[in-house]
Symmetry: C2
Subunit: 378 residues, 2 copies
């Protein structure tokens, strides 16, 4: 459960206790889509990059190897050997973004598997059952991810349906947790706020789902193409209506600058594929901005990516070696770049927490917010 | 330098001392083609899989990032951070197998880069200069790798040219080692025996190159498609003519069974891409035969790949998880499978050495030679 330790403006320092350990917040969750971090990192490596929470994708695990089989194998913790908290998404985002043919009804969504094309039905109950089988620490409610931009009328109808789906999720989740053979009887459930970029829909929806007294609340449907300022506006609009005693999770966000801006607006938890996706392109985060390893100037650069970084990559390898591996498209390039970027995100959160603890968050924010996302110049 | 500790039949237990550390033989070299092990293993990981020698490919490093740049960066040891012995091949094998257009003359070979198509000339002196720039512990002489099968007359002419090339290699190698700014002034040079599958050519060539008193001798041009029995026949034929006080390296070999057969015939050193190539297809070596992770029977198998294996993968992950990662084509599958297979090869060599030490090699050979390469049944 969430405990607020202190506030600096709207920014919150807190702790979130789960059956798999305590998460210090603000915190960043490391994405392990199919129960493996992209770039060849195992659960053992996650400890080395100071990860607190691993995030797995329900849809991907449902279609391959299958949640029922993973349940037989003891759930995601036994499967991956990660013993810290695991959050599973609802599957909704993938259903709405990956599946080519889909049909949304009150009961749920019919869509085709992107692997073998077979027809799959997923609704609130199915999503809860899959996540229960996976035995994650935190399950996410099944919601509709509306495309951006969306018409007001559709957004409103979708919001109302997402609320009805959430009620069904909660009911099914409680039933599953109480079953004798459930993998994790202490599984938590987070609700997801929707409403596109319409302040009034966001607020109304937040007020409704807050009544359900869930274990945490996420803001979904942002960072899907809208201007960043619009995202910040929505967060600021909805934040006053989020329960103070519950953890708040901004889904799929974002750049280091986005995270800093969102912490300032009261968000506690983040996830994003950016550390691994950018690593794939040789883009590395540093405290002085982003390095692009494809740049010829690093060819003979014997310095680490960031002299001030204590990650396993910067402690051992040069920019020149990483550039060489990147140009040669070696798997090792991907692994080392992902390791560095995840370490960067995880330790950025540590420093944000330290700044909150020491009452220097405003200063930390000012010094870093415009620096982190820009291109590094040395 | 090589020190023979003891013999069991023709099998030899020995030690090979280099400026970068001592190699216990029989030993297996781990292939890091472009200065990185396939599957995302770094030099740091090599220690964890009990690697003794890393092998890098001269041709690949010449065409990308370039040996002169790697020299500027301090050579391969500084570049990769591997501080043990490194062997570089001559580039010859890639020139003769990868390059589409080539033209062999007495001076050397003109061929096209497989990366950008540019014309490259490589002869004995060029190969020595590139390997000197890379600063490897052991350089290999530049030889012609004749296709199999080859006509006797061509094989004979090629052999004679390879001898002339070897003399030029030795001269250039000595000159380079004596230069003031050379990366590794203690670089060793191995000659390579050729002669296709013709015993008389093999023996004559071996006798000639033995006179040059090189730091070690390799048998090249085998395991290129000829029947295994023919390979063993050639090794047995040429072995009596190899200097007793020099290390013997069988290039590009092979399966665990091949290695055991070749140790029995007096070979000390091996390299092969098989541990990583087979890993890519989900084929894992164990002491009871080969496991194919694609086999459906492993889907719910919570056992490690091999209960008797102490590798980082078997200590942590199940067959079911590895199979899941393999089916999902996750990079992590590749990494974990390569780790296991390299550990298998490296510790197989440890056990061969222990058997030689304890005078139980014949027994070890008999128990294992037909077991290791076959399909595991449980």
């Amino acid at each position: 459960m969430y405990q607020l330790i202190k506030k600096c403006g709207d920014a919150r320092l807190g702790e979130f206790t789960t059956v798999h350990g305590t998460v210090k917040t603000p915190g960043f969750m490391n994405v392990a889509t199919v129960a493996a971090i992209k770039g060849g990192l195992s659960a053992l490596d996650l400890k080395d990059v100071r990860c607190q929470v691993m995030l797995c994708n329900t849809y991907h695990l449902h279609v391959r190897t299958g949640d029922e089989k993973i349940k037989e194998l003891g759930g995601l913790h036994a499967f991956t050997r990660w013993d810290g908290p695991i959050l599973t998404d609802s599957g909704g985002f993938q259903v709405f973004s990956l599946a080519s043919i889909r049909n949304i009804k009150e009961e749920g969504v019919v869509f085709q598997s992107h692997i073998d094309g077979r027809r799959i039905f997923m609704g609130p109950e199915e999503s809860m059952r899959i996540q229960s089988n996976l035995g994650s620490t935190i399950a996410m409610a099944f919601d509709e991810c509306v495309e951006n931009p969306a018409k007001y009328d559709y957004a409103k109808l979708s919001c109302e349906r997402t609320t009805r789906w959430l009620i069904r999720c909660k009911e099914e989740h409680e039933r599953l947790n109480a079953l004798r053979d459930t993998v994790n009887p202490h599984q938590l459930l987070f609700g997801i706020n929707q409403g596109c970029t319409y302040n009034d829909l966001r607020i109304k929806h937040m007020e409704e789902i807050a009544k359900l007294d869930l274990d945490g609340y996420a803001i979904g449907g942002l960072a899907v193409g809208e201007p960043t300022e619009e995202m910040y506006r929505v967060i600021s609009a909805v934040e006053p209506y989020m329960p103070k005693n519950k953890i708040r999770y901004l889904m799929g966000v974002g750049t280091p600058g986005n995270i800093l801006e969102s912490v300032k607006r009261g968000v506690d938890l983040f996830d994003c594929v950016m550390p691994s996706r950018n690593a794939r392109h040789g883009h590395l985060f540093t405290r002085k901005g982003v390095i692009n390893l494809n740049n010829a100037k690093y060819e003979l650069d014997t310095r680490p990516v960031d002299e001030s970084c204590g990650c396993p990559v910067c402690r051992n390898f040069s920019r020149a070696y990483l550039r060489h591996l990147t140009k040669a498209k070696e798997v090792l390039a991907l692994r080392l770049c992902v390791m560095h970027n995840l370490w960067f995100y995880n330790t950025l959160m540590e420093d944000i927490r330290a700044a909150l603890e020491n009452d220097t968050f405003e200063d930390f924010y000012t010094r870093n917010v415009n620096l982190l996302d820009r291109r590094r110049t040395d």
